[in-house]
């Protein structure tokens, strides 16, 4: 036993040494030049499309005017940020974006996992395939269509109110769309309806990769269906879940635009507007053509998203889980 540990230890040291050895010599380059060229293409692509545009961040510190350009526009320091953070409605849209982002992330993940596990338990292959196809089709609908359906279903004569009234649960049509308290649940449910099937695909794939021996031995040990789900499927999915969670955390502030923009109205604006809608109204509508303000809001979003990812990654690292970097 001891022997084997020391051996594997040695092997580890050796590989680490190998890894840290600088190896990029001319000879090596000659041998690998095709690979280098291929990866260089991606690096250049990244620089052009992801890093060069960051130069535009300079707009956030200027009072940028389209016709004056970067060079002609006046620098105003942190004025745009000051405007943003002294504006109650910007603070409110941050709250809304976070709230809807977190709701989507939490319910989106939980429901997708539950759905994938349950679907995996279905024995009839044709039925399973049919359900899977039906469930991910809404993903391909545009939000415009989904919102039209949701809007229609929730009006005073829509199907929801109609059913509630027919069953005598309510006497008068309930104005779902006019109640701020209902807006986040409606957004979350719409997202679930549209994306659950799609999100479940990756978990379904991960489930297929689980070694069937595990299930068999569990069965021999007397595990029932739910115990197998609890003690084998879920733990095996853990790395996938962690990675997806970390990546999706970076998207929390992209809680949505179309859905909230199309579904919102004056009465629910305090809970419906997201950062993106704020930017549209205050920075790129013609009356308020203020790219600087929009850029400032964009920088804020980037910084927060990056922080979130780093923190999540750090926690995952500490807990010994799968992680991004």
């Amino acid at each position: 036993m001891e022997n084997s540990i020391s051996q594997s230890e040695k092997l580890k040291q050796l590989t680490e040494k190998e890894l840290h050895k600088p190896k990029f010599t001319a000879k090596e380059f000659k041998r690998q030049w095709i690979l280098v060229v291929i990866s260089a293409i991606y690096v250049i692509y990244g620089i052009i499309f992801y890093y060069l545009p960051l130069l535009g961040w300079i707009m956030a510190f200027q009072n940028f005017k389209y016709y004056e350009g970067f060079t002609g526009s006046k620098f105003v320091g942190f004025d745009k940020f000051k405007f943003l953070f002294s504006d109650d409605s910007f603070l409110r849209v941050i709250r809304n974006t976070f709230a809807m982002g977190v709701l989507n992330l939490f319910f989106g993940t939980v429901v997708a996992i539950a759905f994938a596990i349950l679907l995996n338990e279905v024995r009839n292959r044709h039925f399973k395939k049919a359900i899977q196809t039906i469930s991910y089709l809404p993903h391909f609908l545009s939000w415009i269509i989904v919102v039209a359906i949701v809007h229609d279903a929730l009006t005073s004569t829509g199907i929801i109110n109609d059913l509630l009234m027919r069953f005598g649960i309510i006497k008068q049509a309930y104005p779902f769309l006019a109640k701020p308290g209902w807006f986040w649940p409606i957004v979350t449910l719409s997202n679930l309806w549209k994306e659950t099937g799609w999100n479940a695909i990756i978990y379904l794939a991960a489930i297929t990769a689980i070694d069937p021996c595990l299930y068999e031995s569990a069965a021999i040990d007397g595990a029932g269906r739910f115990q197998k789900m609890r003690y084998i499927t879920l733990p095996s999915l853990r790395p996938t879940i962690m990675i997806l969670l970390i990546m999706n955390l970076g998207n929390v502030l992209n809680a949505g635009f179309e859905l909230q923009y199309l579904l919102g109205n004056g009465l629910v604006q305090n809970v419906s507007k997201t950062i993106d809608i704020y930017v549209l109204e205050w920075a790129i509508s013609a009356r308020n053509l203020d790219y600087s303000l929009g850029t400032a809001a964009g920088i804020f979003k980037t910084v927060v998203s990056l922080t979130l990812i780093v923190i999540a990654n750090f926690i995952a690292k500490r807990k010994g889980d799968e992680r991004l970097f």
């Binding site: 016709y67 005073s156 104005p175 004056g266 109204e281 509508s285 013609a286 009356r287 308020n288």
Partner: protein, 563 residues
């Protein structure tokens, strides 16, 4: 080797074939094709539209028009500026100033001298009002401009509208106040709760989506007897040299008006979905004829419901076929005031010069001279007739005196959306005339030709106008006839102020506050408390900053008119 050769031969053949095909597809049209974007909702024309083809034969130019799809004008123009992808012609609505500031428009000045048709549109003094800060003219408003003679028959502006059948049912009563208006709507709805197809009627609805929430918010201005300055009341009771800006949101009238709406909402007379409906839902609701009354501007709803109103329907519970316009669903405007017997200005007489927006040629246009020539040719009488009257003998007939007229079938054709898309081509956001034709006999627009106007009215509408002794819509509103003041309309200023000033920020915040609170107070169970809370929230966003800038603008316009 042989196989390889064969393969390359085949490949070459495919390439040649595709080149030929591509060349075939890219066949040049005979005409110069321009694009036009109007920051307004509108309907696209078919590519092989018949009158478009005829106009192209005469002018050598074809214009593909595109419209707003869902977003509002400001956002659309904002993204056009951001992308830098401009059409050849543009009507930027509220975004015109931004297009100018970003140097995306071609100045009209040189072309005005070259094309007298364009120059003729306005007097020198009027043209001067279009001049921007650099002293040049970049666009011309194309609407409501009468040639020689004012022949207005319509009322394009705002009013409380009511279906003709409701007035007829009550024996054409005099309706002057909100109380009388809602009382009649309620009584009618109680006596006639259903449409022929069995769906219930909606006594009153009100659009409050986005900027079109003016349907809800600006009535207090009119109810106090003032014209449509849009954002404020300009009180000149102290003399026309001494205009004073008044905020219509906080007047006693405003409170009475919203209290009335609140009362009606709680009685169930107002559409329960009014606060959350989208524009599309609003129009489809109106198209069913179920809505008895509403407050809106004519252009915003009337053109969209003409088609559905003229359709033959056979879904009645008694099996009879019917048409909505024939059973009196057409809307009649009422010029209500807060107290009976007041004078009002819901209808503005005379041409309203909105210098804030109009038709413009962009810097992306490769041949601006041709573009301006085209705009000018559109005002030639023959092409103008093609645009608005159609093709002689197909769309209109000419009697012995040279008077144009249409048959019932032709009129129905022009109301039909499908016929419009494939046959009619108004180029509706490009220069056009109203008023008397250059032939001195006809009118530029069919709807202003007195005989045509009366003939296009449905029977119930005609009877209604007769009962009130009104010759047309404007008479029906019965506004005071008076000259427009030099600062009028103030909305052409407020629609384009930016958030660079305190007043601009206040204006945006006032809008946000009203969007939230106005539907809320209407739907409130406790009006007084909510109204007080609304007033607190409203005053907290500093409307005084906005009003001060409005005051300065009114005085500036007054001074400009004198110099």
């Amino acid at each position: 080797m042989k196989a390889k050769k064969l393969f390359s031969l085949a490949l070459a053949a495919v390439m040649v074939a595709s080149c030929v095909a591509a060349a075939g597809c890219g066949k040049k049209s005979k005409y110069t094709e321009f694009t036009m974007f109007a920051a307004m909702a509108g309907k696209e024309k078919d590519d092989d539209n018949e009158i478009m083809e005829l106009i192209a034969e005469k002018t050598g130019v074809k214009v593909k028009e595109t419209w707003l799809t869902g977003q509002d004008a400001g956002e659309a123009i904002g993204s056009i500026i951001a992308s830098g992808k401009l059409p050849d012609f543009i009507d930027g609505g509220d975004g015109c100033v931004q297009l100018y500031e970003n140097k995306m428009l071609v100045a009209w000045d040189d072309y005005l001298e070259k094309y007298p048709n364009l120059k003729e549109m306005y007097t020198d003094k009027e043209w001067d009002q279009f001049r921007m800060s650099d002293g040049k003219i970049y666009w011309a408003n194309v609407f409501g401009n009468h040639y020689k003679e004012d022949t207005t028959t319509g009322h394009n502006g705002e009013a409380f509208w009511i279906q003709a059948r409701v007035l007829e049912w009550d024996g054409y009563p005099t309706i002057e106040t909100l109380d009388q208006y809602f009382d009649l709507l309620e009584r009618y709805a109680a006596a006639n709760p259903n449409m022929p197809d069995g769906t219930p009627v909606i006594p009153y609805t009100c659009l409050c989506e986005d900027w079109k929430y003016y349907c809800l918010e600006n009535a207090p201005m009119f109810l106090d007897g003032y014209p449509n300055d849009g954002c404020v009341i300009v009180d000149y009771s102290a003399g026309t040299d001494n205009p004073k800006i008044v905020d219509y949101n906080t007047t006693p009238t405003a409170k009475i008006y919203f209290a009335k709406l609140n009362e009606e909402y709680n009685k169930g007379a107002i559409d329960p979905d009014f606060a959350t409906q989208t524009y599309d839902e609003y129009i489809s609701k109106l198209s069913t004829g179920r809505v008895l009354g509403l407050c809106d501007q004519y252009w915003d709803f009337a053109y969209s419901i003409m088609g559905p109103f003229a359709e033959e329907r056979n879904d009645a519970t008694d099996g009879q076929t019917y048409r909505l316009d024939k059973i009196g669903c057409d809307y009649v405007p009422l010029g209500l005031t807060i107290n009976a017997g007041m004078e009002q200005e819901w209808h503005s007489y005379g041409d309203e010069l909105n210098k804030a927006s109009g038709c413009a040629v962009t810097t992306s246009c490769k041949n601006p001279d041709l573009a301006f020539e085209f705009l000018s040719r559109l005002l030639d009488q023959d092409i103008h007739d093609l645009r608005f009257w159609g093709i002689k003998d197909t769309d209109y007939l000419v009697d012995a005196n040279g008077m144009y007229y249409r048959t019932e079938e032709m009129r129905d054709n022009w109301k039909s959306d499908a016929y419009n898309a494939k046959h009619c081509c108004q180029y509706s956001y490009m220069p056009q005339w109203r008023g008397r034709s250059k032939d001195g006999i006809n009118c530029m627009m069919p709807d202003e030709q007195p005989s045509e106007f009366l003939a296009t009215l449905s029977e119930p509408l005609r009877k209604c106008f007769e009962a009130y002794g009104a010759g047309n819509y404007a008479d029906m509103v019965g506004s005071r006839v008076c000259d427009q003041q030099p600062w009028y309309p103030m909305w052409s200023w407020s629609n384009s102020i930016s958030n660079e000033t305190a007043g601009g920020i206040a204006w945006q915040k006032m809008g946000e506050t009203k969007h939230y609170w106005l539907p809320k107070v209407v739907m409130s169970a406790d009006f007084e408390t909510d109204w007080a809370a609304y007033m607190d929230a409203y005053n907290a966003v500093h409307p005084e900053d906005f009003l001060a800038e409005a005051q300065a603008e009114a005085e500036k316009r007054l001074a400009d008119s004198k110099s």
